[in-house]
C-alpha cells in the first residue's frame, strides 16, 4: 500500500523542465531511497513530494488525496522534510529546534501547550539527544546536528519523513549512526522514510524500496537486491562496478572504473 504517490508529475523551474512525467510510489511503513546522478532531479522530486515545489503537470497524492487539498499546517502534521544543510540562527539550542517541530500543531498564535513539552522530550529521547538538549546547534558535530534536526522532524509527529542527503558531509561512523537511527525509527514507530542518497550501498542496505532517476525520468523502482546491479550502475552512473556479498548477506557494489 503506498502512502505517498507521484502521478506523472512534470516540474518546471523557470523555463527548464526538470522532471518529465515521473510516477513514483512510496510504500507505507517502509524505507524508500531515491538514487541517481548529480542533477538528475532527485532533490526536486523529493521537494515535489513535500509540496515545496509545485507540479506543473500531474499531482502528488497522500493516502489517495491530492496534497494540494491540505492546508499548510495539516500537511506539515502528516509529513516532515529535512532539506540538505538547513540554516539556523547561531544561538539556537537543540531543544529550541525540537520545539519548532511542534509549530504545525499549535494554533495561529503559536502558543506552547503542555503536551508540546512531552512530545519534544520524546523526540529528543528517540534521537538520543536528551543529554545534549541545552547545547547550541552550532557547537555540535555534523552527526549530532543531523540527529537534532531529526528530533525536530519527529516532534512534528509525521507519518512520513523525507530527507535530502542525510549523510552527506558526515564521516563513515556518523553516516552509519544516522542510517541506523532511521532504521530504528522506521521499525519502532512504523515511520515511512524517504531519502535521497548518494551512497548506493547504504541505499541497498537500509531500504526496502529504491527508485532510480536519470535526467528527470524514472529509470526503475523496486526491491534493492533486484534492481541495483552492476548493469544499473553502468547504465545510470556510467561506472563499471564489482559486485560483492557482505557478511550480513546483502549485496554491495564497488565502482572500479568509468565506462569508456
Amino acid at each position: 500500500m503506498s502512502i505517498l504517490q507521484a502521478n506523472e508529475i512534470t516540474i518546471r523551474i523557470i523555463d527548464k523542465t526538470i522532471i518529465h512525467g515521473l510516477s513514483l510510489s512510496v510504500p507505507e511503513g517502509k524505507v524508500t531511497s531515491i538514487i541517481g546522478p548529480n542533477g538528475c532531479g532527485k532533490s526536486t522530486t523529493l521537494k515535489a513530494l513535500a509540496r515545496i515545489w509545485p507540479c506543473y503537470k500531474g499531482n502528488v497524492t497522500f493516502n489517495g488525496e491530492d496534497i494540494k487539498k491540505f492546508s499548510h499546517r495539516e500537511f506539515a502534521q502528516k509529513l516532515a522534510i529535512l532539506t540538505q544543510a538547513p540554516q539556523s540562527p547561531a544561538d539556537l539550542t537543540v531543544k529550541d529546534l525540537a520545539e519548532m517541530g511542534c509549530f504545525p500543531h499549535r494554533n495561529w498564535f503559536g502558543r506552547k501547550s503542555m503536551e508540546d513539552d512531552a512530545h519534544v522530550e520524546w523526540a529528543l529521547g528517540q534521537t538520543n539527544m536528551l543529554g545534549m538538549q541545552h547545547r547550541l546547534l552550532s557547537t555540535l558535530s555534523g552527526g549530532e546536528r543531523q540527529r537534532a534536526w531529526i528530533a525536530m522532524a519527529l516532534a512534528q509527529r509525521p507519518q512520513v519523513l523525507l530527507l535530502d542527503e542525510p549523510t552527506t558531509y558526515l564521516d563513515i561512523c556518523h553516516q552509519l549512526e544516522v542510517m541506523q537511527l532511521l532504521e530504528k525509527l522506521n521499525r519502532e514507530l512504523q515511520l515511512t522514510v524517504v531519502m535521497v542518497i548518494h551512497d548506493i550501498n547504504h541505499a541497498v542496505q537500509y531500504s526496502d524500496h529504491i527508485a532510480v532517476i536519470k535526467e528527470g525520468y524514472l529509470v526503475t523502482e523496486g526491491k534493492p537486491q533486484e534492481i541495483v546491479t552492476a548493469q544499473l550502475l553502468k547504465d545510470v552512473f556510467k561506472v563499471e562496478a564489482d559486485e560483492f556479498i557482505c557478511s550480513n548477506g546483502m549485496p554491495a557494489l564497488l565502482p572500479v572504473d568509468l565506462v569508456k
Binding site: 515545496i52 509529513l79 516532515a80 522534510i81 539556523s88 509549530f103 503559536g110
Partner: protein
C-alpha cells in the same frame, strides 16, 4: 550571526544563569533604560523640572508655566519619541527576519523613502492637505515595498535580491525627493527639517496620529514572532513546518511598512533606529523573536528618547534634530556590524 555570539550565549549558560532568567533580566534592564529615557526627556531642557514637581503637575495640572511645559511640550514630545522608537525598532526587527538579512531596515531598503516621497510631495505641492500625510506616507511605503517585491521576484524571493532592489528603489525615490526640493526651493524649509528626522514641536496631534498605527502594528508584529522564528530556518524548512512562506513575508512586510510609515509621517526620515536597535538587542538577548521583539521595542524607546534629550540639551539653546544625533551614533555602529558580520 557569528560564532562570537554563540560563544557568549554558551558562556552565560556556564555561569549558571538559565537562559530564560538572562533574557528576563535583559528585558528588565531595557525597560529601566526606557523609563530613564522618558524621565530625562521630561525633566531636562531649557527649564529643569524635578521629578517631585512632575508628579505634582501630573496629578493636578495647573495653568502655571511649568505645568504648561510638561503637559503641552515635553509630555507629548516624549510620547511621540517613545512611539517612534518602538515603531522603527520593531519594523527593523521584522524586516531583518523577513528579508533574512542583518542589514535590512526601513530606511535602507526604501520603505522610508517611499513614505518620505509621498510626505514631501504633500508638504510641498499640496500644503493645504497636510492631514493626508500619514495615509499618503503609508501608501508610499506600501508602494515602495510592492515595487521592491516585484523587482526582486524571480521564481521566489531571495533576501539578497530584496536588499539590492531596495537600495535601487531607495536611491530612485530619494532622487525624486531631492528633485522636488530643488524645483520648489522656496517652500522647502519644513520639508528640510522633515528629511533629517526630528521631534521638535511634536505635540498631542502627532501622538494621536501615530498611536493607533503603533498599537495595531506592534500587536501584529508580536503575533508574527513565532512565524519569524520559523522563517529563520530558511524557506524550504519553513514550508516543511507548515508556514505559508509567501503570505507570511508579504503580511509581515506590510506590518513593517505600517509601523515605519506612521513613524516617518510624524518625525520624518529618522534613520538607523530600525537598524541598530534590533541588532543591539539581538546581540544581547539572542535571536528568539518572542523575546527579541519586545526587547527591541523597549530599547527603541530608550535610544530615541535619550538621543532626543541629548539633541535638545547639549547645544542649548540650539536644538539639533534627533536624526543628526542618530546618524552620528548609527553610522559608526553600522560599520562595526559590517566588520563583525560580513
Amino acid at each position: 550571526m557569528t560564532n562570537n555570539q554563540a560563544d557568549t550565549l554558551e558562556r552565560i549558560e556556564r555561569f549558571g544563569i538559565s537562559r530564560t532568567a538572562w533574557r528576563l533580566s535583559v528585558m528588565a534592564a531595557f525597560a529601566m533604560l526606557a523609563f530613564l529615557g522618558a524621565f530625562l526627556s521630561l525633566t531636562k531642557g531649557s527649564a529643569d523640572i524635578s521629578l517631585a514637581q512632575i508628579i505634582n503637575i501630573l496629578s493636578n495640572p495647573t495653568l502655571e508655566p511649568q505645568s504648561q511645559i510638561i503637559w503641552n511640550i515635553r509630555m507629548p514630545r516624549t510620547i511621540v519619541g517613545a512611539l517612534v522608537g518602538v515603531n522603527l525598532a520593531i519594523a527593523g526587527a521584522v524586516l531583518q527576519a523577513v528579508m533574512r538579512n542583518p542589514l535590512a531596515d526601513p530606511h535602507i531598503i526604501g520603505i522610508s523613502s517611499g513614505a518620505g516621497l509621498a510626505g514631501v510631495t504633500i508638504m510641498i505641492l499640496f500644503p493645504t492637505l497636510e492631514y493626508l500625510i500619514t495615509p499618503a506616507a503609508f501608501i508610499g511605503a506600501m508602494l515602495a515595498a510592492v515595487c521592491i517585491y516585484i523587482l526582486a521576484w524571480k521564481n521566489g524571493i531571495k533576501p539578497v535580491r530584496i536588499i539590492l532592489a531596495g537600495v535601487a528603489v531607495s536611491a530612485f525615490l530619494s532622487a525624486g525627493i531631492s528633485g522636488l526640493m530643488i524645483f520648489y526651493s522656496d517652500r522647502v524649509h519644513g520639508a528640510l527639517m522633515w528629511m533629517v528626522g526630528g521631534l521638535a514641536a511634536r505635540s498631542w496631534p502627532h501622538v494621536s496620529i501615530i498611536l493607533p498605527y503603533a498599537i495595531a502594528g506592534v500587536l501584529l508584529a508580536f503575533i508574527g514572532a513565532a512565524y519569524l522564528n520559523i522563517l529563520q530556518l530558511g524557506d524550504e524548512m519553513a514550508r516543511g513546518l507548515g508556514v505559508n512562506v509567501e503570505v507570511t513575508r508579504i503580511a509581515m512586510t506590510a506590518v513593517a511598512a505600517l509601523l515605519a510609515a506612521s513613524a516617518v509621517s510624524v518625525v520624518g526620515l529618522l534613520g538607523f533606529v530600525g537598524l541598530i536597535v534590533p541588532h543591539a538587542a539581538r546581540l544581547i538577548i539572542g535571536s528568539d523573536y518572542r523575546y527579541l521583539m519586545p526587547a527591541s521595542g523597549l530599547l527603541g524607546i530608550a535610544v530615541v528618547t535619550l538621543s532626543d534629550t541629548f539633541a535638545r540639551v547639549v547645544f542649548a539653546p540650539v536644538e539639533l534634530p534627533v536624526g543628526i544625533i542618530m546618524a552620528f551614533i548609527g553610522a559608526p555602529f553600522f560599520l562595526f556590524l559590517l566588520r563583525r558580520e560580513i
